[in-house]
């Protein structure tokens, strides 16, 4: 798709930069896997703060996952805790939009969610990998029931509008054919002694056997139409019972067509550490976690509180706040010995706060990413009824990038809700610049290229562009390598009586586990300091 007219080889970095602007999430995730972005959660089990110093208090700013987990642990240790939250709900980006919800974005556009009962989208995070132990711990503790999130669905599509006449291909077909052809080539090279210098003769025997197994090759190490290859890529006529049950194998797509289609970019997704099975979602929507924390902390959280100033002195920290709905802007204040501030840097960078220049510079050093999600309600679950797609994700080079199928409510009668778009990068900025109605319209228009049922079955939709979100003004913090080296530690170090936490103060950016591990790390250090100083205001 991209021509380098000079004809010279592209550097790795140039290639990546090009993919980033022109290709979809497929390429992103492919690169995630090859660049080793994924990191193990450092969560080491429930923390056990010893008893808080007598009478000590902590002011927590922000009731997202970091603020909630921090407040929960501090309260349990005996601190007097007060939480200030801008929204009128707990959870922050941990959030589900359900029928009856109203969402007003920056600029004033209001949307009413008109989904049927039990249907929802998660505008923010939507999956919890099995190794995000911190998040899973709080789900267990708060009794938030989980169910499997389907990441890889072999029946879902990979789609490139410029390949195969724009016809979406099954994930299973592209994966099987890519793998089969690669196995055949490697077997050929082995048998032609091209690998003699790197693989011993005994190992070559094993290698050939493994390639036959891995690629579904025939007895001549060829990837051809057969029962074996069809058992991977699918049959023209699948096996059944009785006289009509005789299967017909299918013909593999030629290697050149697979390569030219670029659809191989989409097949390693489920191999990425953060995407590996098993993954989970809370029953009823990701927002159930924030809601459970909200119930647990009850009156400790003061909602509709917009922090406009944070001031520390030698005895404590005072936050000045207003009710964002109060036209008079009446100033109120809250004070405690210590402060755990989880306000996103996009907002915090604008709030006067007397910290040293190291932390102040760090707060100002992190740009925020764009992301857009669009939820679409349809009159029936045609993806299940017509296409046998139960959960999972279709990847496309169209600006919508992803279509996510609900991993719950299978075979429900009545309406169903798809994640009709999950967009990053340049396309996310372009969708953000549209009105919500236009985003929904575009999601339906693009999605129709993959599911022709769209125009007939579409019912209503809702769109969240994270740069228009009043409470975060962006999706998540983007650390450049240079900014990370210069500022990350300064962001996380306690300044006087103020500690920062959130996904932005982690190496697991954009994941809830980053928020949890960041909060626990900060709370542990804050507690240590409180004990050392006696914490009396």
């Amino acid at each position: 798709m991209n021509d380098d007219s000079s004809g010279r080889a592209l550097s790795r970095r140039e290639l990546l930069s090009m993919i980033g602007v022109t290709a979809g999430s497929a390429a992103m995730f492919q690169a995630m896997s090859s660049l080793g972005f994924a990191a193990d959660s450092p969560y080491g089990g429930p923390i056990d703060l010893q008893q808080a110093p007598k009478g000590a208090s902590v002011l927590v700013l922000g009731a997202g996952i970091a603020g909630l987990a921090g407040a929960f642990e501090l309260r349990n240790a005996g601190y007097r805790v007060q939480v200030l939250e801008y929204n009128d709900r707990a959870g922050g980006r941990n959030w589900s939009l359900r029928g009856g919800d109203r969402y007003v974005e920056l600029g004033g556009e209001a949307q009413e969610c008109r989904f049927d009962k039990d249907l929802y989208i998660n505008p923010g995070p939507w999956r919890i990998p099995h190794h995000h132990r911190g998040m899973l711990h709080y789900c267990r503790t708060l009794r938030v029931p989980l169910e499997p999130f389907v990441q890889v669905n072999y029946q879902a599509y990979v789609h490139n509008s410029g390949a195969f006449g724009g016809k979406p291909q099954r994930y299973r077909t592209i994966k099987a054919d890519y793998q089969g052809h690669v196995a055949e080539l490697l077997a050929k090279a082995t048998r032609q002694h091209a690998l003699d210098s790197s693989v011993s003769v005994e190992d070559q025997e094993k290698l050939l056997e493994s390639l036959r197994e891995w690629g579904a090759l025939d007895e001549n190490f060829a990837y051809v139409a057969s029962g074996e290859s069809s058992d991977r890529r699918g049959f023209d006529k699948a096996p059944g019972g009785g006289l009509s049950g005789r299967p017909t194998p299918s013909e593999p797509i030629a290697l050149s067509d697979i390569l030219k289609s670029d659809l191989w970019q989409n097949i390693a997704m489920g191999d990425v550490y953060d995407m590996q099975t098993a993954l989970f979602q809370p029953v009823g929507g990701m927002g159930r976690i924030g809601e459970a924390f909200g119930r647990e902390l009850g009156p400790l959280i003061r909602y509709r509180s917009k922090v406009i100033d944070i001031h520390q002195d030698e005895h404590g920290v005072t936050a000045t706040y207003v009710d964002p709905g109060d036209p008079a802007g009446t100033r109120m204040s809250a004070r405690a010995d210590w402060c755990l501030c989880t306000i996103p840097l996009s907002v915090l960078a604008q709030i006067p706060m007397n910290v040293g220049s190291a932390m102040a510079q760090a707060i100002a050093a992190v740009p925020y990413a764009s992301a857009v999600k669009v939820g679409l309600q349809f009159k029936r679950r045609f993806w299940e009824e017509d296409e046998d797609i139960y959960g999972g994700i279709t990847y496309t080079n169209l600006p919508i990038m992803n279509i996510g199928y609900p991993a719950s409510g299978y075979h429900s009668r009545g309406k169903g809700v798809l994640l009709g778009a999950y967009i990053w990068g340049a396309s996310a900025m372009e969708f953000t610049a549209m009105t919500p109605a236009e985003r929904v319209r575009k999601a339906v228009e693009y999605g129709s290229q993959i599911h022709p049922q769209y125009p007939q079955e579409f019912d209503n939709g809702i769109a969240v562009a994270w740069h228009r979100s009043p409470f975060t003004m962006g999706c998540f913090g983007i650390w450049s390598d240079g900014a990370r080296a210069a500022h990350y530690d300064n962001l996380c170090r306690i300044d006087g009586r103020i500690a920062l936490a959130g996904e932005h103060a982690s190496y697991i950016n954009a994941w809830q586990e980053g928020a949890v591990t960041s909060a626990l790390d900060a709370v542990g250090r804050l507690h240590q300091r409180a004990i050392e100083q006696g914490a009396k205001a």
Partner: protein, 156 residues
Amino acid sequence: MKAGRRHGLRRIGAVALATAVLAVAAHADQPSAASSEARTSRTGAQIFAHICQGCHMPDGRGATGAGHYPGLAGNPTLASWQYVATTVLNGRKAMPPFGLPGDQYSGFLKFVMVQLSDAQVADVVNYVRSNFGNRFKASVTAAQVAGLAHPGAASP
């Protein structure tokens, strides 16, 4: 050697983004609110309509939530084209940098960045400074933008 590499990056990024912008422009029928008074290049208007107005809003008046996006209408900082161009190139606080060559990013973060050529930066700076009631001369050139510090330019 380094200059050559930077040049290559800049060229590719510019072409790729122009493609992305134009691709959407071809089927986006939501007009820029400011298009009637646009007196500068179509490219500047398109970049504003497809990127900048996401935060600064179609009328250039910004918005306020837990924090705020500054308005561009009647904003005194626009008097300095260098200030505006530097903001677009390097970002400012949470506003992402759009300059080339980009900073170094690890993993998937590479793919969330959007990069504009110096010519595109000049176009959008001119557009912003001569619309929304602003009456500054729209005469900034790509060469002038190229003379400003770019993000990541010093990194290896």
